[in-house]
Structures are given as structure tokens and as C-alpha cells.
């Protein structure tokens, strides 16, 4: 059976990481390469997923060394074991690691896949969701970066063999990291991980209190359109769209957002789309599964009341 590598980083298993194992197990026997300063939690999590082997990297301080350290060791392991595929989460960092491994191992790369099958054919949704493309790598290891929320994770019990690999010789000396502030862990889920996103646009006039309250009641993340960011009403990290984040949650609720093509480019793959807008002609209604023509503040207020 062919070998599939997946990359797991951080101190605990993310939903994106778990999904890589599920996708990988469709195509072969999964090896999880673990890059963490506290690998125990990830090793334990791997045993709840269809993973047959873990390779724990040692000798690297992952908090202090650049992503080139990870890409260099990963490339070495790919050269050593020649897996059929390497699956990595489609974050900015994940894509850059995958890109460097692709160059080093002379392998083709597909980014932002939403699905991958047993034959390693990857599906992408491109041009703001207007086309679905299936493609495959034709040279080297199939390197595919996967968007999150694309497959359901069912846990199993596995007993992966644990190997250690000394990465000390691969630590990047080109880049020095002088400080590192991980994204704040708020009680609210992050845009990347949330299964529901509630976004506000110019129609909020900068008043996000009701959006936040509603989001918290349903366990959603908060997002925003570009004018909201440009006006300084909400931090840049929350911008959804072509020049912001791309999200594909189970459900996207747009409040006071018109539905410009550049905004839709960042959310059109959401499974269910809801729009609240006082303009019955707002383009968002064209793609909404459920549209409410009305004032967003009134609607949210009564939704909050209904939830309470």
C-alpha cells in the first residue's frame, strides 16, 4: 500500500490536521510527521485517527526557528521514504512549507484542495467558487495542501508506530525570529476553524456588538468585509475576501454586506449562505440559501431574543 505523509504542527491537534489523516487514509497508509515542542499531545491524538506511523522531529525549537527548518527536514524525509503524497493544511505557513518541499523534491503541488480521492486526484474550487477543477500531480510526490472543513472526522483507535528523527542539522540559520505572538486564542473560534461565520459589512456602520453577541450564542467566528477594515472598525485579521481570508464554513451569515465579487471570492464555498440586507436587490441574495430583507440590527436583536 502506498505511503501518505501528513504534516501536524502545534501543541494540539487542529481540526485541519485531523482532516489530513482522514483524506490520507483514503489513498494509503498514513505517516504523520509531528513538528512540535510538546509532541506528546499530537502523538496521543494520532492514535485516535487512521494513522499507522508517526515520525516525531527532535532537535528543533519550533517556536524559534523559521518554517524553512520544517521544510528542509520534511524534504529529507520525503526523499528518504518517497511517499506517494504529502498532505499539508492550507494555511499561509502550510502552503509555504509545501512549496519549499516541492522545489527540493522536484514534486508537483496543488494548493487549496477541498477534496482528494484514493487516486490522489485533488478537487479545487477556483475563481470564487465558479469552477470546480480536478487535477493531479504528475511528477514526484503528490504535494497537496488541503482547506479545512472539507471532510467529517470520525475517530478510531490506532496504534501507530513511533519513530524519532533528529532534525538538528536542518535548523534554518538564514532567518532569526526575535519575537513571536501566536494569534490570540479568544473564546470565540477562529475564522479558519469555525463551522459558522457571522460577518458584518458597511451596513453595520461599525457597530459590531450585536454581531458578536449573536456569534457567541451560536458558537460562530466573526468576520468582516473590506470597508469595515478600511474604516478601522475591525482588525485586519478578520477581513474575508480576495485580499483577506478565504473561509469555507458550514454556514456563512452576511449582515449588511452587498456581495461584491471580491468578497464572495473569500466565502463562496460555504455550504449554506444566509444574507441579511435591507436592500432587496443586494447581489448577496443571488447566492443565499436563506435571505432576509430587513434591517440587520432588528433581525439580529430578535434572533438573539429567540436564542435566549
Amino acid at each position: 500500500m502506498s505511503q501518505i505523509f501528513i504534516l501536524l504542527e502545534g501543541d494540539e491537534l487542529s481540526s485541519a490536521g485531523a482532516e489530513l489523516a482522514i483524506f490520507g487514509s483514503r489513498a494509503g497508509s498514513v505517516t504523520a510527521v509531528i513538528c512540535s515542542n510538546n509532541p506528546e499531545a499530537l502523538v496521543a491524538s494520532a492514535a485516535t485517527l487512521p494513522v499507522e506511523r508517526v515520525i516525531v522531529l527532535t532537535g528543533i525549537d519550533f517556536a524559534k526557528s523559521s518554517l524553512r527548518s520544517v521544510s528542509s527536514v520534511l524534504a529529507e524525509l520525503v526523499k528518504r521514504d518517497s511517499p506517494a503524497a504529502l498532505l499539508v493544511a492550507s494555511s499561509a505557513r502550510g502552503k509555504e512549507i509545501a512549496a519549499r518541499v516541492a522545489v527540493r523534491t522536484e514534486s508537483g503541488i496543488v494548493t487549496d484542495a477541498i477534496d482528494v480521492n484514493a487516486a490522489l486526484e485533488a478537487t479545487q474550487s477556483i475563481f470564487g467558487g465558479s469552477y470546480t477543477v480536478s487535477s493531479r500531480v504528475t511528477h514526484g510526490t503528490s504535494i497537496v495542501t488541503m482547506r479545512s472543513h472539507c471532510v467529517e472526522v470520525t475517530t478510531t483507535t490506532s496504534s501507530p508506530a513511533v519513530e524519532y528523527f533528529d532534525g538538528a542539522g536542518y535548523v534554518d540559520t538564514q532567518v532569526t525570529i526575535t519575537s513571536s505572538e501566536p494569534a490570540q486564542k479568544s473564546a470565540r473560534p477562529s475564522l479558519a476553524e469555525a463551522s459558522i461565520v457571522v460577518s458584518g459589512g458597511r451596513g453595520t456602520d461599525g457597530k459590531f456588538e450585536l454581531i458578536e453577541e449573536f456569534a457567541d450564542l451560536i458558537g460562530a467566528a466573526v468576520g468582516a468585509s473590506r470597508p469595515v477594515i478600511d474604516s478601522g472598525w475591525y482588525p485586519h485579521a478578520y477581513q474575508v475576501g480576495q485580499t483577506g481570508k478565504t473561509v469555507s464554513p458550514q454556514c456563512y451569515i452576511a449582515c449588511g454586506i452587498s456581495g461584491a465579487i471580491q468578497h464572495k471570492a473569500g466565502m463562496q464555498t460555504a455550504k449554506t449562505i444566509i444574507a441579511i440586507n435591507k436592500d432587496p436587490e443586494a447581489p448577496f441574495f443571488e447566492i443565499a440559501d436563506f435571505g432576509i430583507v430587513g434591517d440587520l440590527f432588528t433581525v439580529l436583536q430578535s434572533a438573539i431574543a429567540a436564542l435566549k
Binding site: 523559521s66 524553512r68 521544510s71 499561509a92 505557513r93 509555504e96 509545501a98 512549496a99 519549499r100 516541492a102 522545489v103 522536484e106 508537483g108 503541488i109 494548493t111 487549496d112 486526484e121 474550487s125 465558479s130 469552477y131 470546480t132 477543477v133 487535477s135 500531480v137 504528475t138 511528477h139 532567518v175 532569526t176 525570529i177 526575535t178 513571536s180 505572538e181 501566536p182 494569534a183 479558519a192 459558522i196 451560536i218 485586519h236 485579521a237 480576495q242 485580499t243 481570508k245 458550514q250 454556514c251 471570492a265 441579511i276 432587496p280 443571488e286 443565499a288 436563506f290 435571505g291 432576509i292 430583507v293 430587513g294 434591517d295 432588528t298 433581525v299 430578535s302 434572533a303 436564542l307
Partner: protein, 255 residues
């Protein structure tokens, strides 16, 4: 300081994009513009040489078909000094691996201290070229910069991504990509547009770079336009909109 800015011409983001029968983007059918993320890289380059010490130059490097000249002219009219345009029929259908190889070869032909890129091209949306170019040149990678400061031969950046905010530095030469909050790009002035007409664009083919044609290492198997979405439910709020919203979420088992 000699700065290279990597710029790409892309279909206008306002346009409907279509796939051709060959599984490639049908570029002929849509207006093409300078990738807006690259304008931030151009602005960063121009600001870094604002004081204009002797020998400071900013060169745009772009790989693309003939009409890429339009995007290059825009960069020149913003204040970029000159450009290298890699144009060769054998490059049609290049993947990121081939593109990064060509760009790295073009960079190696100049004596650059710094390569600036946009964080992502709005057509491919891959965001991998800067990392690949860095890997190929074996120059430090400092990407997703929201701040760039150069002191002597050290470059310091603030990297802003969804994972958090990191401060990092490296020795020049380096490959840097910038995010859009770094600077507001300037508009070309009339004087800039006139001056751009006289600036030199060096045309290069693959063989000028010492390269031979490369196959793409990915193959598109199928591409299907998304079926038009069945119209959803649209209601007018009569006071019960909020309740109906909650009911809808429950019915779809979203909450």
C-alpha cells in the same frame, strides 16, 4: 540598493473568469490588470529607495505573454526604473515550479539586494512563488511582511498571518513578500505615465536565461462550471425575521 519587484498580470478581479477547453484560464476573454497585491510590493520598494542614494534602482520582473507589457508600464509609471519581461511561447501553461525557476534565473542575472513580491496572485491564489524563489536562490525568506525596515545589511520584518505576528530578520539579499496593509500604493502621476513610455523593458526568452522548456508537474483532469445555485428562500422581515433565522439554523442542524 538594487531591488527587484516580481509582478504579475492577472485577469481583472471584477471580471467573470472562464476556463478554456485546455483546462487553463481563458486569458484572452478578460481584461488584464496588474495584480493588486503587487502594487503594495512596488510601493514598498519605492519607499525603501525614497532617499535615492547613488546606485539605488527598482526593477520590475515579470513572466507572462506579450500583453504583460501593460502591467509593466503601470509599474514603470508608478516610479519603477526599468523592467525585465520574460516572454516565450514555451512558457504557456507553466506551473508554479516552472515559474519560480524562471523568476529565480532572471533574478540571478541582476545583482539584486532584495526581491519584493505580492503575497498572492489574485488568479492562482497560491501564495507560493515567494517561498519557491527563496528556496531556489537559497536566500532567506521573509514573507507576509506588514512592516519592513533595513539597517545596514540586515532586513527586519513583521510577519502577519493567521498564525500570529512574528518579528524576524535576516541578512540581505533576501526574498520578501508584503501584505496589503503595509503601505497604500501611489497612483501614477501624469508625469510618471509620460516618463514610463521612455523607460526600458528588457525582453528575455527562456534561452536568454539559460533554461530549456519545462513540463508542468500538475495536470488538470476536468473543470466544470458550478451549476447555477437553486434560488434560496427570501423573506421580508416583518418582525419575525430573527425567529425565522434561528428556525432555519435549527432545521439545517447548524445549531
Amino acid at each position: 540598493m538594487k531591488i527587484a519587484v516580481l509582478i504579475k498580470q492577472v485577469p481583472d478581479s471584477w471580471a467573470e473568469k472562464k476556463m478554456g477547453s485546455d483546462g487553463l484560464l481563458d486569458r484572452a476573454g478578460v481584461d488584464a490588470v496588474l495584480n493588486d497585491n503587487d502594487e503594495y510590493a512596488i510601493e514598498t520598494a519605492l519607499q525603501l529607495v525614497e532617499a535615492r542614494a547613488a546606485g539605488d534602482t527598482v526593477t520590475a520582473i515579470s513572466m507572462g505573454p506579450e500583453r504583460t507589457t501593460d502591467a509593466i508600464r503601470k509599474a514603470l509609471s508608478m516610479g519603477v526604473d526599468g523592467a525585465v519581461h520574460i516572454c516565450d511561447d514555451a512558457l504557456a501553461g507553466s506551473d508554479a515550479l516552472a515559474t519560480s525557476k524562471v523568476l529565480a534565473a532572471a533574478i540571478s542575472q541582476g545583482e539584486f539586494d532584495l526581491v519584493l513580491c505580492g503575497m498572492e496572485a489574485t488568479d492562482s491564489r497560491m501564495g507560493v512563488i515567494p517561498a519557491m524563489v527563496s528556496e531556489r536562490l537559497d536566500w532567506p525568506q521573509l514573507t507576509f511582511a506588514s512592516e519592513v525596515v533595513i539597517q545596514d545589511s540586515t532586513i527586519h520584518i513583521t510577519r502577519s498571518t493567521e498564525s500570529g505576528v512574528d518579528r524576524m530578520n535576516a541578512q540581505l539579499p533576501a526574498v520578501v513578500s508584503v501584505v496589503e496593509k503595509i503601505f497604500e500604493p501611489r497612483y501614477p502621476s501624469f508625469k510618471g505615465i509620460m516618463a514610463a513610455k521612455k523607460k526600458e523593458i528588457a525582453m528575455k526568452s527562456l534561452s536568454d536565461l539559460g533554461l530549456t522548456p519545462m513540463d508542468a508537474w500538475t495536470k488538470v483532469l476536468t473543470s466544470t462550471p458550478k451549476p447555477p445555485k437553486a434560488a434560496g428562500v427570501k423573506i421580508v422581515d416583518d418582525g419575525s425575521g430573527g425567529e425565522k433565522l434561528v428556525a432555519f439554523l435549527k432545521e439545517r442542524k447548524l445549531i
